[in-house]
């Protein structure tokens, strides 16, 4: 697996490189700005990119725009965007281009190396990795008479994990319940929210995200 890195902070760039290489992921190029990473994207055969949202020169959303540009040039190209803070509109922009192979995480998630690398692998394989904070914001924004409010606390927990992009196995591990129980929760959630029950795997993530963002 060959990955591009775009991060303007030298320490974090070096750290990310070290982290990925330590996990057996090849870093094809580590750039400190959006233009360089796009140049590397055009020049090399890579499987995905990890990008910081804020980079020079304006320190606003260069990284995000580079990610969208990559997906424009190569639809479905896996990008994992790291942000200093949760901004729902960033997530919305990324997901708007078709949510397959999209990740949006808070920067500090890199501290949990295992989970971070897991999220990256999921994204590269065409999955989704949404930061729990993003999902929490989406869920908390629902109105009082929203069907989401009719979910049990456990079901809401499961919904959040589904929306983050986790599969049944990962969810059952996280909640310490059986996979069958997770499956049952998901069935209940989908019927309460009136979502098509045959949505499975990645389409399921999209459906829940679309629902939460509507």
């Amino acid at each position: 697996m060959r990955i591009l890195i775009a991060e303007d902070d030298a320490l974090l760039r070096a750290g990310l490189t070290m982290l990925l290489e330590g996990e057996g992921i090849e870093v094809a190029a580590a750039a400190d700005n959006a233009d360089d990473v796009l140049a590397a994207f055009d020049a090399q055969e890579v499987d995905g990119a990890v990008l910081d949202v804020r980079m020079p020169p304006t320190f606003t959303n260069e990284g995000l725009r580079a990610a969208l540009e990559m997906r424009e040039r190569r639809p479905g190209f896996p990008v994992l965007v790291l942000s200093a803070y949760v901004e729902d509109s960033y997530a919305a922009k990324l997901l708007g281009e078709g949510a397959s192979g999209v990740g949006y995480l808070l920067k500090e998630r890199v501290g949990d190396v295992g989970e971070f690398v897991g999220a990256l692998r999921r994204v590269v394989e065409g999955g989704t990795a949404m930061d729990p904070e993003v999902i929490a914001q989406l869920v908390s924004r629902r109105h009082a008479d929203d069907p989401v409010q009719r979910l049990t606390p456990r079901e809401r927990e499961v919904l959040s994990l589904v929306a983050q992009g986790m599969g049944n196995a990962a969810i059952s591990e996280q909640l310490v319940v059986s996979e069958a129980a997770v499956g049952k929760h998901i069935g209940n959630i989908f019927s309460k929210l009136d979502l098509a029950p045959d949505d499975t795997g990645h389409r399921r993530v999209l459906a829940t995200l679309a629902y939460l963002r509507s």
Binding site: L19, G22, R54, F59, A84, K107, E108, V110, G111, V113
Partner: protein
């Protein structure tokens, strides 16, 4: 120490001079009135209206002159005056000019001025002149030939007539002496009361300028918050992400490769120290604690005493300003001193901090002068002057720079104090 006679004389002389000068301007006013009368018939045909804006502006400057002189005589401050400027007026605009309260006030004043001034001049100037003329006649009337006698109030051909003239002179002199100060005062105060502008537009102007400076203050506040947000995200937060990441890496390698783990932990520690340094600098940057303790004057003297180049500091005219302004002034000064020490090769630097009273708000002025080699450019690389300019602008202030090649360099930053 003025003598008693001098203290009695001076106010009368002032009144005399004031009325004399007003008499001169009365003539100008008369010419103006003639001009208006000459234009008036053409107003009926419409064409005369083209002269109206000019006439209105002239009247305004006449009235403003009268007001300023009266205020000067009365030793009060004339209200602020904005001369009207009329450009590209439509016909309706021209008609509207003569309906403004300002114009009507000025016109009323001019009429009163034209009719009353002759009386005032007769009393204020005439009486003293009659006093001198009639009294002095006694000295020389006998020298005049009989067929061309000396004339004061009447031809003087005999001693009784000369004594009568002296009596008239004394009466006129006493009368003039008594009424002159009051006459001057009355003239000035009626001018002022006729020409004192409505308080409402003045208040409106003041409110407008206050809202403008308030908006500027809010802008400054917002840009300051943006700066802090950015520094927190790109500085301390990144360092802390680094810490978390290094610790995560150490955790990952601890069992298999304790040596690498230790190296990761060391990096984590370095990053944490960096974060702390960054935070400390940032807190200082938000508001240097020394400003709170010692005020701008004290903080500035700490800055200047650290200079390797002999540096003088003048804070005689400095008053306290709002914290945001003082802290901006502090950073501006720090930056200017750094520049002077680094690039100027100066042998002496002079710093002046002063507060200029102003309307609508006071202005804090930071002036840094050095006798170095000059050639400083605001946009220049690494000079930090661009930052100074930004900082000043964010508070609605300005940076003026004079730095010819060969020196000297003078930097002046003006920061409005917001009240």
């Amino acid at each position: 120490m003025p003598t008693a006679s001098a203290t009695a004389f001076r106010p009368r002389w002032r009144a005399f001079a004031f009325i004399g000068i007003e008499a001169g301007w009365w003539l100008v006013g008369l010419f103006y009135a003639c001009a208006v009368l000459a234009v008036a018939p053409f107003l009926l045909f419409g064409i005369g209206w083209y002269a109206v804006p000019t006439l209105v502006e002239w009247l305004d400057s006449l009235a403003n002159g009268g007001r300023t002189r009266a205020a000067g005589f009365a030793r009060t401050r004339a209200p602020e005056h904005q001369p009207p400027v009329h450009r590209d007026l439509t016909f309706r605009d021209r008609m509207a000019l003569v309906t403004t309260p300002e114009f009507q006030r000025n016109a009323t004043w001019l009429l009163a001025h034209l009719f009353l001034m002759p009386i005032i001049v007769a009393l204020g100037i005439g009486l003293p002149l009659v006093a001198i003329n009639s009294s002095l006649a006694i000295v020389y009337w006998w020298a005049a030939p009989l067929d061309d006698p000396a004339i004061a109030m009447f031809p003087i051909t005999s001693w009784p007539l000369a004594l009568a003239s002296l009596a008239i002179g004394i009466v006129a002199g006493v009368l003039g002496w008594v009424i002159l100060p009051g006459l001057g005062r009355r003239t000035a105060s009626s001018t002022l009361s006729l020409l004192w502008p409505d308080r409402v537009p003045e208040m409106e102007q003041r409110i407008e300028s206050l809202s403008r400076s308030r908006a500027a203050a809010l802008d400054a506040h917002a840009s300051e918050l943006r700066r802090i947000e950015r520094e927190l995200h790109d500085g301390a937060q990144n360092r802390l992400v680094g810490v978390v990441m290094m610790i995560g890496l150490a955790q990952r390698t601890m069992t298999d490769d304790p040596e690498t783990a230790a190296a990761h932990l060391e990096r984590a520690q370095a990053a944490a120290s960096d974060a702390l340094t960054g935070l400390r600098e940032m807190v200082h940057d938000i508001y240097p604690p020394i400003l709170d303790e010692q005020g701008l004057a004290g903080a500035a003297s700490t800055l200047t005493s650290r200079m390797s180049v002999p540096t003088s500091l003048d804070v005689a005219e400095l008053r306290r300003a709002p914290a945001a302004v003082e802290s901006a002034a502090y950073f501006v000064l720090a930056e200017a001193l750094t520049n002077a020490a680094k690039y100027a090769e100066a042998s002496h630097v002079a710093v002046t901090l002063s507060t200029q009273s102003g309307s609508p708000e006071d202005i804090l002025v930071v002036r840094v002068h050095d006798d170095g080699r000059g050639g400083a450019i605001v946009g220049g690389t690494g000079s930090g002057l661009a930052g100074v300019a930004r900082r000043a602008e964010s508070l609605g202030g300005t940076l003026t720079m004079s730095s010819p090649v060969g020196g000297p360099t003078e930097m002046k930053v003006e920061l409005p104090c917001g009240f």
